[in-house]
């Protein structure tokens, strides 16, 4: 068995320590300016990576984060584990019954909000790929599908936080946005896994139809029978194991097994973890405290490691191309505003509310960055486009709050008014 040498182990541990502390310090700095922690974590990565440290202090950078040898492999393994856990937590946030309960408006918002970005992203990816700095036409189908997916995903936590800050979280419009974003996430990650499956096939991997069959079987099985069995087993586990520590081990253990299965099936491990997250998170036996422990554990340790590693991988200064950034940004905003906005209009909301839904759903946040990182790792996109997508994810997340504030006066959208609105049949025409 290959093990890290004494020197390598020290290097590995120092790297992790430095990454965690840098992510927290820079993250907290940006938090003072009301920016999401993730912005600081990314910038910490940029500072420690080739963009800054590698350029101005190459020797230090080489000692720490050269990304080669056993330490590089170990760090790479750690970021893979991190992204699996992040997707597991993202899955736990999806509430299938909420999607169902929000009914037609959420479904229409979500459906059109998916189809239009997917269509436009695919179209631009297929016919104007040079605009994104891509020249490789061999993988044109997966690339076009990726562009569609990249335009379609939303960042649930960013959306939830924005709605909370504006006092809209528990209103009808807030729940519509949340439910639609959850549905978008579910379909978006399924689609992205299929794209990775397509790539795998073109690289001579497992048969695509076999992969798709296994994926669907896993997803449907876990969301029905698997979810039922997990819900039935948790009370037994709670009675016999230490709790909530036992939940942490069991749930993460299942997440890794699910991830291993989908990786074996020929799609990325993240999908297995995501679906397992939905199945476990949906259980009535998962309390807020338990859920919170998992969230805190993953988002304060593994999320910073992942996001800082994003900055370590790519030189953001060299690969920053303002033309590509603007194209990606404008395309992303137009896709979501038109898609989710039209969907909400179709669902029966007013024009102003529909526009607000569009801006709410426009926030891409961490999910977009994860998507882009995996696409970069799979050589599906180049570094210029990767940087552009990361910038787009940050900008759309930061602009969601002010735009919602502008469009919906939160003072008249409080819980109380939502209560009154719900009593008014006219306001429920879309139900």
């Amino acid at each position: 068995m290959i093990t890290l040498s004494h020197h390598e182990l020290i290097k590995f541990i120092v790297c992790i320590g430095a990454m965690l502390i840098a992510a927290r310090l820079v993250g907290e700095f940006f938090r003072k300016f009301k920016m999401p922690l993730i912005v600081g974590e990314l910038i910490a990565g940029i500072l420690l990576g080739p963009s800054f440290l590698g350029t101005y202090f190459p020797e230090i950078s080489k000692w720490f984060f050269n990304g080669t040898g056993n330490v590089g492999i170990a760090l790479n393994g750690l970021t893979s584990i991190s992204v699996i856990m992040l997707l597991f937590v993202a899955g736990m946030e999806v509430e299938l019954s909420l999607i169902r309960q929000q009914g037609a408006v959420a479904f229409k918002t979500s459906l059109v909000g998916l189809i239009i970005p997917l269509g436009l992203g695919y179209f631009f990816g297929r016919y104007f790929y040079e605009l994104f700095g891509e020249s490789n036409a061999n993988n044109i189908l997966p690339f076009s599908l990726f562009m569609g997916t990249a335009m379609a995903v939303s960042a649930l936590p960013v959306i939830a936080r924005t709605l909370m800050d504006l006092g809209l979280f528990r209103t009808r419009i807030g729940m519509i946005i949340i439910a639609a974003a959850m549905f978008d996430d579910l379909i978006g990650w399924l689609l992205f896994s299929v794209i990775l499956g397509l790539l795998n096939k073109s690289a001579g991997g497992v048969d695509f139809v076999y992969t798709l069959g296994l994926t669907l079987m896993y997803a449907v099985g876990m969301l029905t029978v698997g979810r039922f069995l997990i819900n039935k087993s948790l009370p037994w586990a709670e009675k016999n194991f230490t709790w909530p520590g036992g939940f942490l081990s069991i749930s993460l253990g299942l997440a890794f097994l699910g991830a291993a299965f989908t990786e074996y099936a020929g799609i990325h491990a993240i999908f297995g973890a995501f679906i397992m997250g939905i199945a476990i998170g949906d259980s009535v036996h998962v309390t807020e405290k338990t859920r919170d422990i998992v969230h805190q554990f993953v988002t304060n340790i593994f999320a910073p490691l992942f996001f800082i590693a994003v900055g370590l991988k790519v030189n953001f200064i060299v690969n920053f191309d303002i033309k590509i950034v603007l194209i990606v940004l404008i395309l992303a905003i137009v896709c979501k505003l038109v898609g989710a906005g039209l969907g909400a209009l179709w669902g029966g909301l007013s024009k102003k509310e529909a526009l607000a839904v569009g801006f709410g759903m426009n926030a891409r946040g961490a999910m977009e960055i994860i998507l882009a990182t995996l696409a970069l790792q799979a050589n599906l996109i180049g570094e210029h486009l990767f940087v552009a997508i990361v910038v787009m994810a940050v900008v759309t997340s930061v602009m969601a709050g002010p735009m919602l504030q502008l469009l919906l006066n939160p003072s008249v959208n409080t819980l109380k008014n939502a209560f009154i609105d719900n009593n008014n049949p006219a306001s429920q025409k879309s139900e």
């Binding site: 936590p157 819980l415 209560f419």
Partner: protein, 288 residues
């Protein structure tokens, strides 16, 4: 003053000639006495002389006036026919016997009582253990969630509690904080989280206080309690633990179907395993 004085003026009883038929009629009699309602007995199936005589005998035995009450015999698909009769007769409350728990297959396919509860447009009372000597509703648990329907549901539960001289009435506010994790993992401090939680519940508490102010609770001991967890599930669990004899819930916002059982709607947690008698309150045009 009560928001609801007499919630159920016209009550339909779905009669099947099962071993629990007598007990169901005894419960119906008690409902009539307590609530002063008119009763409509519905039986779906072929009318035979034997059954007709048996039903008349029971009605006579329980002192149910054949002139003021009504018997309807119809043939056809049980659930759809009962629903049509309820609509035609402007029924306020449909009463049916129901098993506490059905096997998994039957639950997903739907037995008669559960099918009715998912489709009926008036209120519905499902009696899990009807008794030939009805014990009434002494311990009532009612949903007090932050929903426009809760006001009427609570008022109805209070009216029933007063009629039955209930010993206790627990109003349960279910707080689903699962979405809190969605927000807090971003970048909130513990104190900020607590402040958000307090804000979450403060407005709900005020609303509930207003509802209670508008209702005269008579001599019933009314307690309000907030429980964290999945709506529908936690209130059922509470009713079971407290050995309540009536659980009162809001009617669902839309008609339920199979998907609501696969991805359970709040009310499905109660229907999957009835903790006690279940009353689903629907504010119909007839009750106003």
């Amino acid at each position: 003053m009560n928001l609801v004085e007499n919630p159920f003026k016209k009550i339909a009883i779905a009669v099947a000639f099962s071993p629990r038929c007598e007990a169901l009629l005894a419960e119906a009699k008690q409902l009539q006495v307590k609530l002063g309602s008119q009763l409509v007995f519905i039986h779906i199936g072929k009318k035979t002389i034997h059954q007709e005589q048996y039903l008349k005998h029971l009605i006579h035995r329980f002192g149910l006036d054949a002139n003021t009450n009504k018997i309807i015999w119809e043939e056809g698909e049980t659930v759809e026919t009962i629903l049509t009769i309820c609509q035609n007769e402007s029924i306020d409350l449909l009463v049916a016997g129901a098993l506490e728990k059905e096997n998994l297959l039957k639950y997903f396919l739907g037995g008669v009582a559960r099918k009715l509860s998912r489709k009926v447009k008036c209120s519905m009372l499902m009696l899990t253990e009807p008794n030939i000597h009805p014990t009434g509703f002494k311990h009532i648990v009612v949903e007090g969630s932050d929903h426009p329907k809760s006001e009427y549901t609570i008022a109805t539960a209070i009216a029933i509690g007063k009629a039955y001289q209930a010993a206790s009435l627990n109003i349960i506010q279910e707080t689903d904080l699962s979405k809190m994790a969605l927000i807090r993992h971003e970048e909130l401090k513990e104190a900020e989280v607590e402040a958000i939680k307090e804000e979450f519940v403060k407005e709900e508490d005020l609303k509930l206080e207003e509802i209670l102010k508008c209702n005269d609770c008579g001599g019933i001991t009314v307690c309000t309690e907030r429980i964290e967890g999945k709506p529908g599930y936690v209130i059922s669990k509470f009713a079971r633990e407290k050995q309540a004899d009536l659980l009162v819930l809001n009617s669902p916002d839309k008609q339920m179907n199979l998907i609501d059982r696969v991805f359970p709607h709040d009310i499905e947690f109660a229907l999957a395993d009835l903790p006690c008698n279940l009353l689903i309150v629907q504010e119909t045009q007839y009750t106003l």
